[in-house]
Symmetry: C2
Subunit: 381 residues, 2 copies
């Protein structure tokens, strides 16, 4: 593997060496229905604490060493994002509005183009707005290692030691540690979400880690690699960014131009193709909070393994996740069940079938039901 | 066994030989929480059809051969009873109000005293207001046999062939057929709700039937046997009936007197002690609708064994009972579960634990929760 050309020493710029957090607030979180809705997706709900997911996420990237965050979100969610950042105590942020969703490569590409206008050598820390991280000290140690590697031209991800043969995550094969970059390893290859048999092999191998989907790189490196491996994306993106409009609160990408950008993830467009992929192995207690099963995993549990939120009464329940955003909810004698109650819908499922919640949402959408997409009015619970 | 003295030929009276239906509307149906509440118990809900249980029950006892029904109910439920009888098309009825609950012997005793004032030889058909009967033609055939035996001085119950080793029902041991009364058998003995092992023996014996708790007898026979086997009940009851007050709609038993009546079931007070017990074996598709498990049994099911009521969406569910009186309710991948949603509470349980719903109600009551007893306001579903 050829080492990329190292960046020049960071010039004195507006960003002054600070890391720029970039939160991607895409996705509708349909597997967390009926709480998560298109109109109010999971990142805006308090799912694992008293704070919303996006508030928890942005708070991990505030303070010394961090520049003002960039949040790339759907135009429809702009007020939710702005209000929740305000609530989180974010003094200044750039909220970049996508007129349509185009997956992660265009979203982070737009952020990188904006940052590069000020300082192409600034380091971007790209993250989903809706993941959970339990061990923040470990995160900040891993981030320091990743930032050092990013300044040396690497595109760095974080790799978590698998605790199960998970099929919902991609995997990263870990190579040798990079010279002069302690804790940072070359990536053998990225492996997309595997089937169950492959997941079992990967999880047991000791050489494969879960791919968190967080990345650290400079704007310069990201744009160079995007131009090399997905030139159509970069070419379509540049006019959408340069023709943006901007007011006091929001940066609006030019709609017609952005609509022409191919929809593709950063993993496909760059990470799996670049020669400069690196990984920082780090056990962060990370979870993408992708399903109700994940929320049960993350929740504080009673002696019988039940995690509850809200007005819940249990009688002989075991290993259940029960959440009520309103009405009294009683669960009797069920095992491994999830019961979720909102102001307009009830979901009861077996935890092993947590992925199938998406099918419910698809069916509701096909039936034109408002419960598929629109969140209910708040109720006094 | 000695045959009782036969009644004289029915005299021409106001009742003119018609059978008097007596509906006992006691019980709070707490195992059917959260639909059934003290303030609005199960007999007033449409549980197995579009009609309420009490309406279904009274409609089985209208028309030729039946006198105006008597309903004995809690004072608190008088308007519910009156309105639902009105809705059922009952032109005239006597609604007898109990100031407190005293179980079935005082309730039917009061009805018998009222009927005896007009015609002591009138036949009463006593029934719970909240049982289901699928086969009405079979019921009316069995009733004709029971009425003939009642006129001959017997206290007649209906016995259903057990379809399971049920511990929630009492059993009747069937003796020889009575001379001159085809289809009517002497009762060997009554057996109270058995334990599981005993239930298995009884259900397999071929000689034991489920005791429906419906009885047919003349007022004269019932009062004579009540006086013989539970004289304290009859003695306390008579002043409560004779000092009753009556207006256009309701008959009110005298409260202080009725409060002094011992609380005892007709089974204990009379049926298990009388020498004149008889049984009509009859498969009526009868159920006391005592739990959500019974409602699943009774419900029409899809190919996967699911019974649903209301706005329900299933995905991979098997043998579930799902009922929503309002909100959209989705069930994914659960087996043998019951999910019930009302305007103010949600219950999710394993069907094998259907009896434990009572514990939930007890705990809610202990906590002073309104959901234990009070029904929610109607919602526009």
């Amino acid at each position: 593997m050829t080492l990329p050309t190292a960046s020049p020493a960071a010039p004195v710029t507006a960003l002054a060496g600070a890391v720029v957090p970039v939160l991607l607030s895409g996705g509708s979180g349909s597997r967390l229905w009926p709480v998560s809705r298109e109109s109010f997706p999971k990142q805006f709900w308090p799912l694992i604490s008293e704070r919303s997911m996006i508030e928890e996420t942005v708070r991990r990237a505030l303070g010394e060493g961090f520049a003002a965050p960039i949040v790339v979100c759907n135009h429809e969610h702009r007020f939710l994002v702005a209000e929740q950042l305000r609530h989180a105590g974010v003094a200044s942020a750039r909220i970049v509005l996508e007129p349509v969703g185009r997956n992660s490569a265009p979203a982070i590409g737009a952020a990188a183009l904006l940052v590069a206008e000020q300082d192409p050598d600034a380091v971007l820390w790209m993250m989903a707005a809706d993941a959970a991280i339990r061990d923040e000290p470990a995160l900040h140690r891993a981030l320091a290692a990743a930032v050092a590697a990013a300044r040396a031209g690497w595109i760095v991800t974080f790799g978590m030691r698998p605790t199960a043969a998970e099929t919902g995550y991609g995997y990263v094969e870990v190579g040798d540690e990079l010279a002069g970059l302690p804790g940072v390893h070359a990536v053998g290859r990225f492996i997309e979400k595997p089937d169950q048999a492959t997941a079992a092999v990967l999880a047991a191998s000791g050489r494969h880690l879960w791919n968190s989907g967080m990345f650290v790189f400079t704007a310069r490196t990201l744009l160079a690699e995007l131009g090399r491996h997905a030139p159509d994306v970069l070419a379509a993106l540049e006019p959408a960014v340069s023709a943006r409009t901007q007011d006091a609160d929001f940066i609006r990408l030019q709609p017609e131009a952005f609509a022409r950008v191919p929809s593709i993830s950063l993993d496909y467009a760059v990470a799996e193709r670049t020669a400069f992929a690196a990984v920082v192995p780090a056990d962060l207690g990370w979870s993408d909070v992708g399903s109700w099963a994940a929320l049960w995993e993350l929740g504080a549990k009673d002696a019988a393994g039940n995690a509850t939120v809200g007005d819940v009464l249990l009688e002989g329940a075991e290993n259940c996740y029960v959440r009520s955003d309103g009405m009294l909810t009683a669960v009797v004698g069920l095992r491994d069940a999830v019961v979720v109650v909102t102001g307009d819908a009830v979901l009861a499922l077996h935890r092993d079938r947590a992925q199938d919640v998406k099918r419910v949402v698809d069916r509701l959408r096909a039936a034109g039901r408002s419960e598929a997409a629109k969140h209910p009015p708040a109720r006094n619970a």
